[in-house]
Subunit: 208 residues, 4 copies
């Protein structure tokens, strides 16, 4: 057993991340082999899930240590995780998932964000008082890693994102300062997105 | 172990309420940390769930005793529970849940109530003979505790509500004279609301 | 232990019916306390579920023996079961269920039947060669027991029903010559009804 | 125990196929008794599921050995399996399933194929670079075995199909070079089809 694997197994976050993977797969928010999870281990490093492992069957030894000082990332998903760790030292966990609802919602909304209004549960993801009333979910178009990070920078300059954003057709990213908060943000956003999608489907009845 | 916890653990309703919490979370009618349950313990007191506990993992020791003679409530959900206990001594259990269907339905219907007609299962929640044929579900707009209670008073003066009402975007409230009856009312209203939502989504086909 | 209970427990169909109840409740095709199941025990008698038992927790001792030679039925659901046993000696099991899809479908379709065309699985419920191509599902309006039986008589005179019919807002009735065949007919009709409901919801896109 | 049964039980693919059956039935992609699975055993032979067995309860002894050199197939589903094994020696597993989404989708789309665009998960089923951007799912009309194979030949001459096609109202066929890859293709196509169906249902809101 090598050093990295030993370290992972002593990291309580790594064990919790594997348990969270099973919870997410059970809800069918992660079709076969998709998605990317990570958990911060130090200022410039994190443990990442490997792409070819079913996230419903993760063990800590399956997580891969990664240091971002050494190299530029060309894979968009990995680059986004790294960006989210670098923009705020309190970001400890990042999750990319592929639920059907989030995917459909991101393809359906043509604007570059969608405003959520009137849901009590917005409170659980809002960063500011104004987001409690009107909570924006950013939707980016899929691009290469460099352009995606440029656009994320611009979005964060305007306003801190409420713990989540979508890449159109490429999944939902959520983050938090602990496994529990990342899970809460994921569950809340899945609820809000699911509600909006149902509302849109039902509202054609009232339009016609 | 203090007095309160001992009392809870001897209250068979407290144990049943925790089991009901697991049943409700399993159906995904309670996203992370949301909702409020209570069970009456005496004329002026009840046990409440605490806001930060996952209702799928409740134990009787997690329930908080509450006496409403001593103070005014500023939290709307707690005030609504108290109001329902005070309006009728037979109300023994109150549940606030946040299912996706109830939330979407409450945001979709702009009127202050919706009439359910033609469902055999209306029988399970109707208070009167006329509600068996036409069962109204009240929908309130979210407001502060005082205005919400004023409006509830006015609604109950017109007609006894059929064991449930909605606050738009803020969940479904149901109650009963036992854990079992509250559970039956919750399941029946989830069924009726779910049916109406599907009917609305499908009926645009016949309108266009 | 009385005679009736002993007899039930020796009836292998009674045990299978209880197992089927758990399977149906698990699929959420039976909201709280609803539905009625029965299994034939002789030419003029059957075992019925009692109305106040959760069908997910049935044991053979919960089944109630019933002989229809002695009295007229005023409860519509019981009268329908009796009618189905009397019209054909091969009918051994009758199930009334309340799935959301069947309920919505029965309220949505205003005609007195709906024709299913183009589904391979129609083969599993068709009575005749023509029903394999075009399978009619009868939809009756809710009425008292006497009028319901009159209408059922008329429907069966025109054509043998494909192991099922709907009462609008009052559930789906299916039957078979064994527990297994009744289960197959239930699952197949749930599939066909679910498909049509989805097709209707999606087809407004193509109409508009 | 006869020779065939012994051979099946020594075939590790046969055991995996039975486990996959349970996984598929759990997702309700196989209503009662429907569907056909097979796994290649040699150049001209495979093990097939028998039509009357519940695929959620398969054991290796339930699989039937089949050699296609000896006879012409008149059953369309079996003929399609045989065709897929003959067209490419790397095809090791073929699955026909009947999910509600795939069935509805195949009935809804009137064209002879549907193009999937903008989903990251297209990568998991694409055969060529161009399919990563625009992935066609062929939809055949139900016909007899001979005409179905003729049409499949023509489709494969134009372009290698991305591990799947639909027969309208008659299910989804997927295949792979191992149990794992067939499962991945099934799960991915279920996801893509489900997304498109939801997108279509929601988009009438934007059209009207």
């Amino acid at each position: 057993m090598n050093q990295a694997i030993q370290t992972n197994q002593l990291n309580p976050y790594a064990i919790q991340l594997c348990a969270l993977g099973r919870w997410i797969v059970q809800r069918q928010w992660l079709p076969f082999g998709s998605g990317l999870f990570s958990v911060r281990t130090a200022e410039h490093s994190a443990l990442f899930t490997s792409t070819d492992k079913d996230k419903g069957e993760l063990s800590p030894a399956d997580l891969v240590p990664y240091h971002w000082t050494s190299h530029d990332q060309t894979d968009t998903a990995t680059a986004v995780h790294q960006f989210l760790y670098q923009i705020n030292p309190h970001h400890k966990v990042v999750l990319q998932t592929h639920s059907m609802q989030a995917t459909v919602f991101s393809c359906l909304i043509k604007a570059d964000q969608h405003l959520f209004v009137g849901y009590q549960l917005q409170n659980l993801v809002a960063i500011s008082e104004s987001q409690r009333n009107c909570c924006p979910l950013a939707i980016l178009d899929p691009q290469n890693a460099e352009l995606t990070l440029q656009e994320l920078h611009q979005r964060f300059e305007r306003e801190t994102l409420p713990h989540a954003f979508l890449i159109r057709g490429h999944g939902l990213y959520v983050w938090g300062d602990s496994i529990d908060s990342a899970k809460r943000h994921l569950e809340t956003w899945q609820f809000l997105i699911g509600c909006e999608l149902e509302r849109i489907k039902a509202s054609c009845h009232f339009n016609s």
